[in-house]
């Protein structure tokens, strides 16, 4: 038993940290460190810097541009990207549709799509959730019907993250209504410019525009844009969702936020002493750090167990990571609310390129409350924490 990192892993961490420090444009770093959202250009710029280094999608098969790193190195890489306030890779491409295409797609689909995901020439979004299909995803009603050489899609998707920037959307649609709901779903790739696709923004409680509704009105897509076999889409979706759970703990995000909390709480912007001098606050901060330290170890245990586990079999322990990881992301945003105090109040919506203009109150205060509100989403998405508890009850406890 040895819980330390090897010399090679320590050197690797230093290499990634150094690369981020030297190559992440300062304006992007400062924007994200301040709690602002990256723009589309920020994400594209950084993805191309990583892609040029060969790090565009490190976890992919080497033949399609992956690195061949083991799970520990992949986890160190993600941790350093998150801690360094760099934009994260657009998961809809690199972590979701990319691996599905690489595993189940045709050679032509791989050659056409994978290189364009790697350097973000194609921006992908996810057409899964529907107004009537959230936690019960398999209950989706968007339909695809065959008409000669094309599939005709009708229906509505929702909560589609960053669809306003997207070139492509991957869509789960019902292709057979006469069978069990999981057995009549297929997986399609759809160009967002196809006639009949409409994107409508949803404003979230923080005032931001991250998610959208996407409508399909007789959208005709070529038959070659079906992935794998007809009516096997649910299998591919499950495969995709098990990949989504990798890194779901987001330990690096919470670490970065804890460091920010310590820095800001030491400033002493109002009152007679810095927040850091408040023993009640310090105990709450310590409690969050303890849970995060434990979560980091739990994540390492899951990774270590994955080395000997059969490939492609989802580990229900990832539900533990999801629950605790999301709770800690939320706890840390609450601690930031403790730090900002009364200057949580002014509502100063994000202004795109003008994010850095003078603000009311401390210059770091404007994103604190929106981040707190926005972060409530993390226990809802990716399989709500209640769904995760049901998975643990069934898959770990056998209830």
């Amino acid at each position: 038993m040895d819980l330390g990192f090897s010399a090679e892993e320590i050197a690797f961490r230093a290499e990634v940290r150094d690369f981020v420090a030297k190559n992440l444009p300062a304006a992007i770093h400062d924007k994200l460190a301040g709690g602002h959202h990256p723009s589309k250009d920020d994400i594209v710029t950084w993805t191309r810097i990583l892609a040029a280094k060969g790090w565009g999608a490190p976890h992919w098969p080497v033949e399609w541009g992956g690195t061949g790193w083991d799970a520990i190195k992949l986890s160190i890489f993600t941790d350093e990207i998150q801690r360094g306030h760099a934009p994260e890779s657009l998961a809809f491409g690199t972590s979701m549709v990319g691996p599905v295409i690489a595993t189940f797609g045709t050679q032509a689909q791989k050659e056409r799509f994978l290189p364009r995901i790697l350097d973000l020439r194609d921006w992908w979004c996810q057409g899964f959730s529907e107004p009537g299909a959230g936690s019960d995803l398999a209950g989706l009603r968007t339909k695809a019907e065959r008409d000669g050489d094309v599939w005709v899609i009708n229906g509505q998707k929702t909560w589609t993250t960053l669809a306003q920037y997207a070139d492509w959307i991957f869509v789960l649609a019902r292709t057979d209504s006469s069978v069990k709901k999981q057995e009549g779903i297929s997986f399609f790739l759809c160009d967002m410019k196809t006639p009949g696709v409409t994107v409508r923004p949803i404003q979230t409680i923080d005032g931001g525009h991250e998610v959208n509704e996407v409508f399909f009105d007789n959208v005709r897509i070529p038959a070659e844009n079906l992935v794998g076999e007809v009516n096997k889409g649910w299998d591919y979706a499950k495969f995709l969702l098990s990949n989504e759970r990798n890194g779901i703990a987001r330990v690096g995000v919470s670490k970065a936020r804890l460091a920010k909390i310590r820095r800001l709480a030491s400033l002493g912007v109002y009152g007679d002493k810095p927040k850091m001098d408040d023993p009640v606050f310090r105990m709450k901060l310590a409690a969050a750090e303890v849970e995060l330290k434990a979560l980091e170890m739990t994540q390492m245990r899951v990774i270590a167990a994955g080395r000997t586990a059969p490939k492609g079999k989802p580990n229900p322990m990832s539900s533990v990571l999801k629950i605790k990881g999301s709770e800690l992301q939320q706890t840390t945003t609450e601690l930031l609310m403790d730090v900002v105090g009364p200057y949580a109040l002014p509502y100063q919506p994000e202004q795109g390129d003008r994010w850095n203009e003078p603000s009311v109150g401390p210059d770091w205060a404007s994103t604190i409350a929106p981040t707190y509100f926005n972060t409530r989403k993390v226990s809802i998405y990716g399989g709500s924490n209640e769904i995760q508890r049901s998975i643990i009850a069934k898959a770990i406890l056998g209830l």
């Binding site: 310590a286 330290k293 979560l295 605790k324």
Partner: protein, 378 residues
Amino acid sequence: MDFDLSDEQKLIADNVARLMKDKYGFESRKAYGAAANGFSDELWRQYADLGLLGAPFAEEDGGYGGGAVEIMLTQEAFGRALALEPYFACVVLAGGALRHGATAQERAELIPEIASGALRLALAHAEPQSGWNIFDVKTTAKRDGDGYRLDGEKGLVINGDSAQKLIVLARVSGAQRDKDGLGLFLIDADAPGVTRHPYPTQDGRRAAEISFAGAKARALGEPGQAGPAMARVIEDAIAALAAEAVGAMAEAVEMTTEYLKTRKQFGVAIGSFQALQHRASDMVVALEQARSMMYLAAMSTSETDAATRARSISAAKAQIGRSAKFIGQQATQLHGGIAMTFEYKLGHLFKRLTMIDMSYGDADYHLARLGEGDSLFD
């Protein structure tokens, strides 16, 4: 980074698990606990035969060359079974005092006796006024010829009622809470001037309040220099208790799961109710977080930087305390009335978990301590 055990460690884990399975059913435990000293002499001999008592000590001291991992594996199995034998008191606490505070010659004299099962030691360090401050020591040791005379009151001496010898933390100089000026002293438990007041504990064990009135003792290590050694003894003790707690928590989660599957109400197994499933799932989360910190604690005992070591140990104890309270309370609730009975094992797991939290600083104590220092992350 790996969580793999060596072949020797696997053997220890397998052996102790098998022994607990064969000999430590809950009815047997009741019988062992009813003995005068509150545990089974027969099992103590078997622990010695299996090498458990000597495992964590260095070979040059007469041990078998293991360390924190061997203690962790043993304590986890003992935690599941709620084993009563004085392993923690003798091997972890008193043995720790020897490892960290005694001379090589003293270790070579005493550790083989522990390993063979012949000598049961207890460590008398706490006092009625000291709370969780290990340096709060009023008991004095005064030089007398080639030995020392002890005067004062020691409290909460775990298995101090039946130990043959005691290691006593006493002050040779300085004020009541000074970290300097402390020494470790060895004395026969029935020596003249030693008065023991034995009693049972909430978790079915035995302890004693012990007073010393001019009792003649011999020094271990260098008198006056025992403070840093005691700090390490307590860190090792916390790591060992973390493992025991994880064993007890894992047992509580398993018992609860089994109960949810078999107990029927409204014509169905109560485990089919989502409200109960989700409580049980939260217990799994709390258990896995605790297990992670059990590993961290065990590995941290050999960390050379004292501040880093202290922070990791405090973090582990805080997590263990929070998880133990949550799991103990939830397991009791999910069992319903049966958990409230003395005859059923679950309530005893809950009580042991609660007393582990109350030992060497509860969760809030360690969180406050962490709050005073730097971040756990670099």
